[in-house]
């Protein structure tokens, strides 16, 4: 009960926070379903809902797992919601009494529009009571969701989140349907922008149905797709169904830009560029285990060297001038040169940091990443790369008359390089080279003693990672057509590292997933542009706490993390005075039940 009050208070504070950053007040008109379910409304519910779910989690008591029964769960959820609602209602009353305008002087998002949404025409006590009631209901819902039997819980869960997802995708799905000439008015309302109620119900039913099917027939389906895995065979056997699925997937990827339109193709292009950066960094961080915080170095290097090699011009106040060195190579001639330059630079960067490990390596690479930004901005290189004004007239990598600046065209160019990078990464990971990297990552000294040249393989990782990343930079230059140093900040390094970590270090599907989540989603949900970094930070914190091996983990990597867990378990059981304490301290979680 005490935890219900504690968690409820946190949920109330979180709701206040959401209001204060504007996630409620600025989105009262973002309709998800009909005009009743809005994003703002969702934000009111979300914290108490999660709190209700959290507070009813099974606990470990005296070494055994205690589950909360249904009646008690409802009470706990109600208390949690009540507390959360009261905290938030108190805040609303406070704002109402103190005056919105005075508070707005500091918290600019606590606006009249927000108060209009929360209080409106109603008398303040009534409005407060409604807010408490909403939170209470959400708390109960969260708690009840926890104690539902799996057979109900899973379909309900997927119905809710899939429906909300479709609500969010209101800028994308309707456009795609239009392009495919599919009637859409029953699904998305032109009036509210969001799903219609009919559409929502259909989507929810389909999602629930799929969930049930997956539960009952999941294993059979998986077997049909993957074929029975035999120990002697190299990987899964190819079945007609798996080929069909792969071909269908490829077809979707290939026609995507024509279906989703220019705006989303543009986002997909950015996703591809970052996927290349992610794949490159994955070689350095994921395969060889070298933490590089200055990866923007190769991004910048790739972009600028491509611009220089292909005859871009310098921005000036009156127009443009030729750089000190103008080469005017064809894009496809220049790319191998860019890659070569980047690989050599990787070796140059790697050489001084060979002896460094972990934190020290991270710090030095961070510095190296900053250096290149200073360099391209400096007056010293201004005749070459344009200094703060940057460069323009970068090649559009045309083949004949077919240029790739158009987002729909660029998508294909970038896709080709991503496919190449995936192929290279995959082959390298499963080879003598990849084995040497893994050994290096696992234990540098032992790898050395077993005949793996640590120097050579570290440099190789930097070179290969740099080469792949530089292609990302080069494509970025082609995509944008002009360069300014402002695009090349430490934020790029952090974002790419975020992609690799979120997706799952060392995992190729992970890098792609990470890019879609961290670059694709923010690009699609333009309304939330301001909140991008907030969401970014929140996503990383959440993943690190709940799923440290990443969204689509590499098997070996997740083992490494489990190993740390095991060591902590061991430590806990060694140090605990009695076994009760040990049991409580070990992260048993739900899985042990």
């Amino acid at each position: 009960m005490r935890s219900a009050v504690r968690v409820g208070t946190s949920a109330g504070i979180v709701t206040i926070f959401l209001a204060a950053v504007g996630l409620i007040g600025n989105f009262t008109n973002l309709n998800l379903i009909g005009d009743q379910v809005t994003f703002a409304g969702l934000m009111l519910l979300i914290a108490p809902l999660i709190a209700g779910y959290v507070v009813t989690a099974p606990r470990v008591e005296s070494g055994s797992i205690v589950r909360v029964d249904r009646g008690r769960a409802a009470i706990l959820g109600a208390v949690t919601g009540l507390v959360a609602g009261s905290v938030f209602a108190a805040f609303v009353v406070f704002v109402e009494v103190f005056g919105v305008e005075r508070i707005r002087a500091i918290f600019i998002n606590i606006s009249p529009a927000l108060m209009d949404f929360l209080v409106g025409e109603r008398p303040v006590p009534v409005a407060a009571a409604i807010l408490v009631a909403i939170a209470l209901a959400a708390g109960v819902a969260g708690a009840v969701y926890r104690v539902l039997p799996d057979a109900i819980r899973k379909p309900v869960g997927s119905a809710v989140w899939v429906t909300l997802l479709f609500g969010f995708l209101q800028r994308i799905v309707p456009i795609a349907l239009d392009q495919l000439d599919i009637e859409r008015d029953w699904l998305y309302s032109k009036l509210t922008g969001g799903l219609t109620w009919v559409g929502a119900v259909v989507v929810a039913l389909v999602a629930a149905g799929v969930s049930v099917l997956k539960d009952r027939r999941g294993d059979a389906i998986r077997r049909a797709v993957a074929g029975r895995r035999s120990r002697q065979a190299e990987g899964p056997r190819v079945t007609p169904l798996s080929v069909a699925i792969a071909l269908a997937g490829l077809a979707v990827v290939l026609i995507a830009p024509h279906v989703v339109g220019s705006v989303i193709s543009e986002v997909l292009g950015t996703v591809m560029v970052f996927a290349l950066l992610g794949l490159g960094l994955n070689i350095v961080v994921g395969y060889a285990g070298l933490l590089d915080l200055g990866y923007v170095f190769f991004f910048t290097l790739g972009a600028y060297s491509l611009a220089l090699l292909t005859g871009a011009t310098l921005n000036t106040f009156v127009g443009s001038t030729e750089p000190a060195i103008a080469l005017g190579l064809n894009f496809y001639v220049a790319i191998p040169v860019v890659v070569l330059i980047a690989a050599l630079s990787g070796v140059l960067i790697g050489a001084p940091v060979l002896r460094l490990r972990g934190d020290y390596l991270a710090l030095v690479t961070l510095g190296l990443g900053e250096m290149i930004v200073v360099l391209v901005t400096s007056p010293w290189l201004e005749p070459l790369v344009g200094g703060p004004n940057g460069m323009r007239d970068i090649t559009d990598a045309a083949i004949g008359n077919f240029g790739f600046r158009d987002p729909k065209h660029f998508y294909y160019l970038a896709f080709a390089f991503v496919a190449l990078a995936l192929f290279v990464s995959f082959r390298l990971a499963n080879s003598r080279v990849g084995r040497a990297w893994t050994a290096l990552r696992e234990d540098e000294q032992v790898a050395d003693a077993m005949g793996v040249s640590t120097t050579a393989y570290k440099l190789l990782a930097f070179a290969m990672g740099g080469a792949v990343g530089s292609i990302g930079g080069a494509l970025f230059a082609v995509k944008i057509g002009s360069l300014t140093p402002a695009s090349f900040t430490v934020l790029v390094s952090i974002q790419v590292l975020g992609i690799v970590i979120l997706g799952g270090i060392g995992s190729l599907p992970g890098v792609l997933t990470g890019t879609l989540v961290l670059v694709g989603l923010p690009g699609l949900l333009r309304e939330f542009e301001e909140y991008r970094l907030l969401a970014y930070g929140a996503a990383l914190v959440a993943v690190m706490l709940l799923r440290p091996q990443g969204l689509v983990p590499n098997v070996r990597r997740s083992r490494e993390l489990q190993e740390e867990d095991r060591e902590q378990d061991k430590w806990a059981s060694d140090t605990a005075a009695d076994e009760h304490v040990a049991a409580a301290a070990s992260p048993l979680g739900e899985s042990a039940g």
Binding site: F423, R427, S431, R432, V446, M450, V452, E563
Partner: protein, 263 residues
């Protein structure tokens, strides 16, 4: 007399003011099994670390087939033909058993970046050889590391099997001489006996030279052609097992001085 396979000549190694090794010399002839014994802290493991290039010696020389290996990186020394195991097991815990052994073959293969990406016929063949050699060295321990175990991550192995895998990984480097650092530590008596046979078989079947640090005197007695006894980084005795075991200084080092002598 021909040049011994491995020569340690007047090696001194100091850590700060402490001399871990003090003008230590011994050699190992081709096909010999030599044991190094001595109480804890006698500098036995330090000898291994100096020979394999983990620590540079402050003075003295280490020669393999008459050529110095001092100053070479550990991986070069391994390639030259000196393989080792560690006193505390150091496996690549999250790689599979087979992969661990395959890392051992690294220094005997050449596939580079481009070969690996293109997977040329030559690289494919080499990868096949690497796998075969790795399986062969795992097979040295009979069924212990065979079958389904080869695809398990190394951390799932039992303690004794981890030690065996470490030896198999060393064997997979195709060495001329193997340095085993307390191979029976933590093993039960039956496993210890089994391992004693393995050490002898390394020489008899694989034609290897073995230098072993060992505490278990039954093993030392059972395998050694010669025994080198150390204390405080110095060699205090050398000879057959019986000679060394009856040496005054050795007994003293292990058991301490008799009371009356201390006075």
């Amino acid at each position: 007399m021909t040049t011994p396979l491995l020569e340690v000549v007047g090696v001194t190694k100091r850590f700060g003011g402490l001399s871990a090794l003090n003008d230590l010399s011994f050699d190992v002839a081709e096909g010999e099994i030599v044991s190094i014994i001595g109480p804890n802290g006698a500098g036995k493991s330090t000898v291994f670390n100096v020979i394999t290039g983990l620590y540079p010696p402050d003075d003295g020389d280490v020669r393999l087939r008459g050529e110095t290996v001092v100053g070479l990186a550990p991986n070069r020394i391994t390639r030259a033909g000196i393989a080792r195991t560690f006193q505390t097991v150091h496996l690549f815990a999250n790689m599979t058993v087979l992969e661990n052994a395959m890392v051992g073959q690294h220094c005997r293969s050449t596939a580079g970046v481009f070969g690996s990406i293109l997977r040329t016929p030559r690289v494919r063949k080499e990868e096949e050889t690497i796998r075969e050699r790795a399986e062969e060295s795992l097979g040295f321990f009979g069924s212990r590391l065979a079958g389904y175990r080869q695809d398990q991550p190394a951390f799932m192995l039992s303690y004794a099997n981890r030690r065996r895998l470490e030896m198999a990984r060393a064997l997979a480097t195709d060495p001329a001489i193997v340095l085993l650092d307390e191979p029976t530590a933590g093993m039960n008596p039956r496993e210890t006996l089994e391992l004693r046979d393995h050490i002898v078989r390394m020489r008899d079947e694989l034609g290897l030279t073995v230098l072993v640090i060992e505490h278990d005197m039954r093993v030392v007695k059972g395998v050694s052609d010669r025994v080198v006894a150390c204390d405080y980084g110095r060699k205090i005795a050398e000879g057959t097992y019986d000679e060394v075991a009856n040496d005054e200084q050795v007994i003293e080092a292990y058991l301490g001085r008799r009371h009356e002598e201390l006075g």
